[in-house]
């Protein structure tokens, strides 16, 4: 069984992890066009090669990012989400009710 290094828990069998999809940035909910949203929601890079992905250590519910080669089945590196998402995200206006 493949091993994966969880940034929180160290090397674990890959069966302990849940795959969470490619890291893609969300379009603007208001200003981006329908086609852009359709691509974001349904389409994937799905590269034969390197890809950055969401992974979760299931037992501890710890999400992190993995860089992986989809051809060789190698995990290049794993790192905490905070390296990618460094700032608080806010959406334009606060609700009024």
């Amino acid at each position: 069984m493949k091993l994966m290094r969880c940034p929180l828990n160290g090397w674990r069998n890959i069966s302990e992890f849940t795959y969470g999809g490619e890291v893609e940035s969300m379009p603007n909910p208001v200003t981006d066009a329908s086609d852009v949203w359709a691509e974001y929601l349904f389409f994937h890079q799905n590269p034969a090669g390197l890809v950055h992905e969401w992974w979760c250590h299931t037992a501890t519910s710890y999400w992190f990012i993995a860089e992986r080669n989809t051809v060789t089945d190698e995990i290049i590196k794993t790192y905490p989400t905070s390296e990618l998402f460094q700032k608080r995200v806010d959406f334009s206006q606060e609700e009024s009710t």
Partner: protein
């Protein structure tokens, strides 16, 4: 003994009649370039050449004929889908399968075994009834059946009410069956080659020359060819080839593993499937038991085997059919499947004027081979999208209109 074999046996020399063309130079131009020499590619070429008179066709295959998922699938042929679009499409495919041996003059060994899908929860019964009702309404034989009928069909099933997930009911699909999967692609390729189609194995497409929304030429490891139009039929590589055409696809590519036992005397007729346990089992005409289940947990373009999949398939298979425990596994393998968000294919027109898509075949591509050949050939020859495949257009995703097929595909390949 059949005439064909007697004639063969009595001839002094080997017949020497090749089923496919031998290796030769690529021509400069083809009217239709089919990327992918699997069942779909060969079927498209076959129907183009036989029924539409389109014969200047080339099939480009990077490996060997039918060496992708045509070789690796577990040959389950069924039409018990959930949506109207899906049921009609696979119903017509199944009909074609039945006549394929005589259509080809090549025995694909179709066998109408019937498929039994097991319900272990009341939610499953609801979803099976839904499928059965839709199927019946559209002329496909499916029925929710009770425990006595299940016992009669497959006496070896674990019918204990103390099982972790006791069997509560079944979906009996009398039309379901199987065939020799390799023979399907060979029959199509043979028929196409006899009509002038060229098959080029070990020929890899390396890029496409695109000008003002049209593919002008196809580059291969053996040189450039000009083309009238191009079809991509490369299950397991759809995103990669699509990218050459600048087309982004709603696909994630996952391995799908299966395993096979040694041959034993035949005891299991129907194809048996349990979505709850993620497993399906059938006994081939050679006597081997083929066991498969769900896809791998993460995307990969690699056919390596994993022990954890084998363990889970074995455990699941034995929960349903305990007698399998005595059998010995011979081999484990994998195919590479292009999964779409709505478990339905992507067929038809593309953003490029002369580029056609035959993609997103997930775990259901083999059973669609004949109908896919018929409809894609019609599209290419007539430039009109056949009604049967209109719902499967790439555009549906831009319209936020997916096909609701998710309920019928899990572990039933």
């Amino acid at each position: 003994m059949p005439h064909a074999l007697i004639k063969y046996g009595l001839s002094r020399s080997y017949p020497g009649h090749r089923h496919f063309n031998s290796r030769k130079e690529l021509k400069d131009h083809y009217d239709v370039v089919i990327i992918g020499g699997g069942g779909h590619g060969a079927a498209i070429a076959y129907y183009l050449s036989k029924y539409h008179g389109v014969k200047n066709v080339v099939i480009l295959e990077k490996g060997y004929l039918g060496g992708g998922n045509t070789a690796r699938n577990t040959a389950v042929i069924r039409a018990n889908y959930l949506t109207e679009e899906g049921v009609c499409f696979y119903r017509d495919s199944l009909k074609l399968f039945r006549g394929l041996s005589n259509e080809f003059g090549y025995n694909i060994m179709w066998e109408n075994r019937g498929q039994l899908t097991l319900a272990h929860t009341d939610a499953a019964i609801r979803s099976f009834r839904w499928r059965a009702e839709v199927n019946k309404h559209l002329g496909v034989r499916s029925e929710v059946i009770g425990l006595d009928e299940i016992r009669e069909l497959v006496p070896m099933l674990n019918m204990s009410e103390h099982a972790r997930f006791p069997i509560l009911a079944g979906l009996w699909h009398a039309d379901g069956g199987t065939a020799r999967h390799d023979a399907v692609v060979w029959g199509y390729a043979k028929g196409a080659c006899e009509r002038g189609v060229e098959l080029h194995q070990l020929t890899t497409v390396t890029g496409l020359d695109i000008e003002s929304g049209r593919v002008k030429a196809v580059n291969t490891n053996r040189g450039k060819i000009q083309c009238g139009c191009v079809v991509q039929a490369v299950a397991g590589n759809s995103s990669v080839v699509g990218r050459m055409a600048g087309i982004h696809l709603p696909i994630h590519t996952f391995p799908l593993q299966a395993m096979v036992t040694q041959p034993y005397k035949p005891v299991l007729g129907p194809l048996v499937s349990s979505p709850q346990y993620h497993v399906y089992v059938q006994q081939t005409s050679r006597g081997e038991f083929v066991i498969g289940g769900g896809s791998d947990p993460y995307p990969l373009y690699n056919t390596r085997s994993t022990l954890e999949m084998k363990e889970s398939l074995a455990a699941a298979a034995m929960e349903v059919l305990p007698f399998l425990g005595q059998m010995r596994l011979l081999r484990q393998w994998a195919g590479i499947t292009d999964m779409t968000p709505d478990y339905s294919p992507i067929m038809g027109l593309s953003p490029l004027e002369n580029y056609y898509l035959d993609a997103g075949w997930g775990t259901w591509g083999f059973k669609a081979t004949p109908i896919c050949g018929v409809t894609m050939a019609e599209l290419i020859a007539t430039q009109r999208v056949p009604d049967l495949i209109k719902p499967f257009s790439l555009d549906r995703f831009y319209q936020f209109r997916q096909i609701n097929e998710a309920g019928a595909t899990a572990a039933s390949h």
